[in-house]
Point group: C2
Chain length 302, copies 2
Amino acid sequence: MSFELSLNTGTTTTLDLRQAAQAAAEGGLAHIGPWRHLIEQAGGAEASARIIAEAGLSATTLCRGGFLTAAEAEARTAALESNRAAIREAAIIGANELIMVVGGLPAAAHVLGGTGERHDKDIAAARSRVARGLDELVPYAREHGVRLVLEPLHPMYAADRAVLSTLGQALDLAAPYPAATVGVVVDTFHVWWDPQLQQQIRRAGVEGRLASYQVCDFNLPIASDALKSRGMMGDGYVDFASISQWVAQAGYRGAVEVEIFNEEINAQDAGLTISTMSRRYAELVLPHLHSAAGLITEHSAS
Amino acid sequence: MSFELSLNTGTTTTLDLRQAAQAAAEGGLAHIGPWRHLIEQAGGAEASARIIAEAGLSATTLCRGGFLTAAEAEARTAALESNRAAIREAAIIGANELIMVVGGLPAAAHVLGGTGERHDKDIAAARSRVARGLDELVPYAREHGVRLVLEPLHPMYAADRAVLSTLGQALDLAAPYPAATVGVVVDTFHVWWDPQLQQQIRRAGVEGRLASYQVCDFNLPIASDALKSRGMMGDGYVDFASISQWVAQAGYRGAVEVEIFNEEINAQDAGLTISTMSRRYAELVLPHLHSAAGLITEHSAS
């Protein structure tokens, strides 16, 4: 399934799992990457696995586990429990790759107003708690045959969503664990700006941790809800040619997910979204994956 | 003048140079960091130097040169000419440190709509042009006794403002040149999230390139004009204690500028802004600079 397209359900936020799976299948896709709230809404992992199979699809990843930065014991216990549930769900739907968004600074200072507590802003301590959380989750993930896939998020989300901001940092965090159990994802939106990107993608390949490639564009201006600044490939600033070549040169041959939180795209007809993303993918991403992988593209052969 | 506060005029955008200098002096400050448009508005560098001196202040930096990413010959020539003028101005006002914002991707793709031209998104090429621009400017800066101070900007500005995103990258870019002629600035807003921050601040110290320390906070949500997301120290997420200690441990003993583009702060009375920033600086920043520098603070001695 080299470089086959997968619909992340973040691209079609108005649809439930059955609708998203149906839209993906009708759009000619073979894969889907569901978010956990859709799994729950569909009645759980077994029911979701059936829905995905009935649509003729396979699941590429499950979004998401993580949020391991809380300092208090109760919140940490709850987070670990939620991650264990996510690991079980990933195994049941056959995704086997659980995307991990590690969490931001706990007890956000701006809620307190003015000068917050010192420990809330201690990003180094928050990162240590992520590492400790991984220590606890890795054996469980391994037992279930699920890979924890660390996702570096754009630094604009470091405060409130992920203290993991670069691919190099993700690989450092993954280093103590087997590559089969802890991998990393390259999401173009989050990492396109990184001056070390080429070298860290190469490193991810060498270390056998390149678990997922997600594509969408980086739009400006940043949306009022910053999470929705993601754009359709070609509408923003991302150099898909270079990044896709690096990913394929690093040995990645898996499916490619499209995850676009974007108010306009999320509101439009899912069929239109899927046809647009398929066309843009074929134009802007796939030829560069193919050329770097040494394959002939239909386009270049025609 | 160890750790004395300096008013960057980006904090008081409604004031002209004379008003800003007067407000800084009335607020008990000894330093100002002007932006170039205020220099021009005041009748040029000589007139500005007099205004700053008459207020009893010294200039810490001049904001700003840079914008060296254009690909076309005409635009590059104009950018170099503008930078030479900025170097002369910095020398005349006695700032001797010219802050360099290197520029974003040229011919922004979103203006073209849809799929932009390939070369516009080639961030590696844009970075190479920055390096070539520095090659041309360094001898001129050296002749004028002005240091070019490379400013890594937050990655959320990589597309439209600066393809220089981390302190490590800034130090790599500076490496071919004498430390007296090319330095770097640590602006907490831009770099607080960087997992390599401590190590790169240390490196900046070892290499003798730590030219300026600018403090303001990182606020959420990101403002609708993303440039205005900067906040008063203590209102956001920045760990000033840790970063200030690292900066002082790296040997920095210069002035500390406060540069806050923020709609609310920019609109309020400048006297209030200056008294607030002085108090927050004394509470949240200065004790950590002092302790790491081995000095006794008034606060700790009382």
